[in-house]
Symmetry: none
Subunit: 413 residues, 2 copies
């Protein structure tokens, strides 16, 4: 079964607001085995709301609206759904009485406008709201289900959990959803897709989604089956060949970040790491220390932005800098060796590059980056040519440095 | 004129993802005087995408799609818009050639699938993408305009700003929009709002929006008028009293980041800065070096995560660490003085704190942070108790360090 979610309210269409109710609803629906195939945010406008409801109903069995159930004239959800289904709104004096009593308990008098909240769409069941004044509504229409829920998240969640979920569970065929999240470093998105598409394209189930950031790709596989055993078997069937194709470019199978994976490997190896950063200015250290408990394996490091600092703090020789330049294999190597020696760490990573937008040359264009790794068995340097703006080049560089250390620690570097 | 925005991609329909491109696009469209009346998120599904495009086109003059322009088979935006408009897709060998050259410049071979990106919808103009492989498309259809933009935010922003905005500005009836963006460090959002609400609440125009991040608040004032003179006068009328109330807590009046403001002040003072970071692990250096050209004033620094590193790299004495602990006024001061001495910089900033989630105690709970500043006239240390998770505490700490230096440089510290 498929669902669509409509968030109602002009305030949701400003540059500052995102609809978060739909994230909660999506998680709950996914748990039932229901997929969300469309989401809408529509302002307080009768016709536009009605046509969104019609479109959603034309292709999904579950349609959930949030917001627009308040007492004021721009609360149009009731009217819009009535219009879309060609059903009347019917006044229920017992709802008005309950609202009036609610106000009385708070020693307040109900405003006349609140009576608008006592209208139900013909054929709708009421979903009582114990956290606010807006009652929800539950409707069925030729095999589909519509829910009208209040906008405030704490009201919506309580109503959905207590009153909608149990009813939905009876309607939805029982189903299990299992996921695998592979993370891959150091590959371009299209190269990766070309490699693995022949595997996952054969399957509609599990559904495959690929997300790419700077030097970091996530492959989500999501299987929907009647039993957990079936779902797990399907995932093995598809993830297995993908894992074979990608090999050690996969750094985690459970969604874990590369910072955490590197941390685990260091801990397992009883090893420590330090950093020597030029163009990333501290980003690599910042990333390594995002992980709680990283003080177990991260000792510290050096940000050597100027040549003087590379000489004084890391012991890079003036000759190396003069002969090869700050952005060179030789400097990266000397930086890593210097950081390792001066911090007494097991490993040291170094980064030196041209992050741009200025400072590039024909021989060393913006994006040229050398990444060094020094360890007990020696030092090595990777050269990479990254593309993008300053922020992206720095992200790529720190990502590649983390991956270089990961491979060495896993015995593959 | 009205606009609708369609975000394309099944990954945008998971419980973890929100569409943030539409927030950027909404802000830019609002600036032109265009209102966004509907937003959609649709998965990678041809028919569903096409019907969303048809619906949007039936009622709005501007329709923007983001995402689904990649090279893979689930990138369906081109096909869906073609279907919705009943137009063919036409292969443009010159686009394929340009893509091939782009790959060649990176010493890579273009994958065959990338040729899918060389198809334009009949009648569409190409929007070149200098940050990625997916070209955008610009289409006009019976008085309406459609834009197909890439999904990655940095690609979408660059393309929209450089290529779509100028064309849209010619289509949209002229309106003058002027903005002021005040940025404030070191105040809580509710304290700030209580202070300035009596001023801005009196005005519908300019519209006031307040955005808060860790230790950083942005106040946006946006005036929409027939002439620039009117808009400017309105802004002065409202921004003037707000600036008086906030005084030197305002660090910029044109939206400039605190990193850039500090950089400008250092440059003006012909001064340099270094850093000594414990719990932020490099974040302060990373932030200072986000600014292009920061090598003029940022020399480098030390990430001293362990006590040994604080002793060896910065010369903090074992006595200070034993007597006061690593998270103390005395250690912060010694770190700043040590960094300044060892890098020979004009100023040095230090941060030491408990970022959590572990490591807190009754005397020094999670969030306890000391921020040191050493300079030609001496050293000082600020103590702060930040609230939030690890990421938030680290952001707060680096923000306060930048603000401490800003105040000193501006002669107010």
């Amino acid at each position: 079964m498929n669902a669509e979610i409509v968030a109602v309210g002009s305030e949701m269409l400003t540059p500052q607001r995102v609809d978060t109710n739909s994230l909660y609803l999506t998680a709950e629906l996914n748990n039932l085995g229901v997929e969300v195939v469309g989401k809408y945010v529509i302002g307080d406008h009768l016709e536009r709301l009605a046509s969104a409801v019609r479109l959603a109903l034309s292709r999904s069995e579950i349609v959930i609206l949030s917001g627009g159930l308040g007492p004021t004239e721009d609360d149009l959800t009731r009217d819009a759904v009535g219009l879309a289904l060609d059903r009347k709104l019917i006044y229920h004096p017992e709802i008005a009485d309950a609202l009036e009593q609610r106000f009385a308990r708070l020693n307040r008098k109900m405003a006349e406008v609140n009576k608008r909240q006592a209208f139900l769409i013909e054929g709708a069941g009421i979903l009582p709201n114990d956290r606010g004044t807006a009652p929800g509504q539950w409707l069925e229409e030729s095999g589909a289900v519509l829910m009208l829920l209040p906008g405030p998240p704490h009201e919506l969640k309580a109503m959905f959990e207590r009153q909608c979920l149990p009813r939905l569970a009876r309607l939805v065929p029982p189903q299990v959803i299992r996921t695998v999240e592979l993370r891959v470093a150091g590959m371009g998105e299209s190269d990766l897709d070309q490699l693995i598409a022949p595997v996952y394209k054969k399957y509609e189930n599990p559904a495959t989604t690929i997300l790419a950031a700077a030097g970091d790709i996530q492959i989500h596989l999501r299987a929907r089956c009647a039993t957990q055993g079936e779902a797990d078997a399907l995932l093995v069937e598809v993830a297995g060949p993908i894992e074979l194709l990608l090999g050690d470019r996969i750094y985690s199978r459970n969604g874990e970040s590369i910072e955490a994976v590197v941390g685990d490997l260091l801990r397992k190896n009883r090893a420590t790491v330090s950093v020597a950063e030029s163009c990333t200015g501290g980003m690599l250290g910042e990333r390594l220390t995002q992980v709680p408990g990283s003080s177990e394996y991260f000792v510290g490091g050096f940000i050597t932005y100027s040549n003087e600092m590379k000489i004084e703090l890391l012991g890079v020789t003036p000759e190396i800098l003069a002969e090869h330049g700050a952005v060179s294999k030789e400097t990266a190597e000397a930086m890593a060796i210097g950081a390792r020696r001066r911090t007494n760490s097991t490993y040291a990573l170094s980064i030196t590059g041209v992050a741009g937008p200025d400072g590039g040359s024909e021989a060393k264009p913006v994006g040229t980056t050398h990444i060094g790794l020094a360890g007990p068995t020696g030092a090595e340097v990777l050269k990479r040519q990254f593309i993008g703006d300053r922020a992206r080049i720095r992200s790529f560089a720190s990502q590649m440095a983390l991956d270089l250390l990961r491979r060495r620690l896993a015995g593959r570097g």
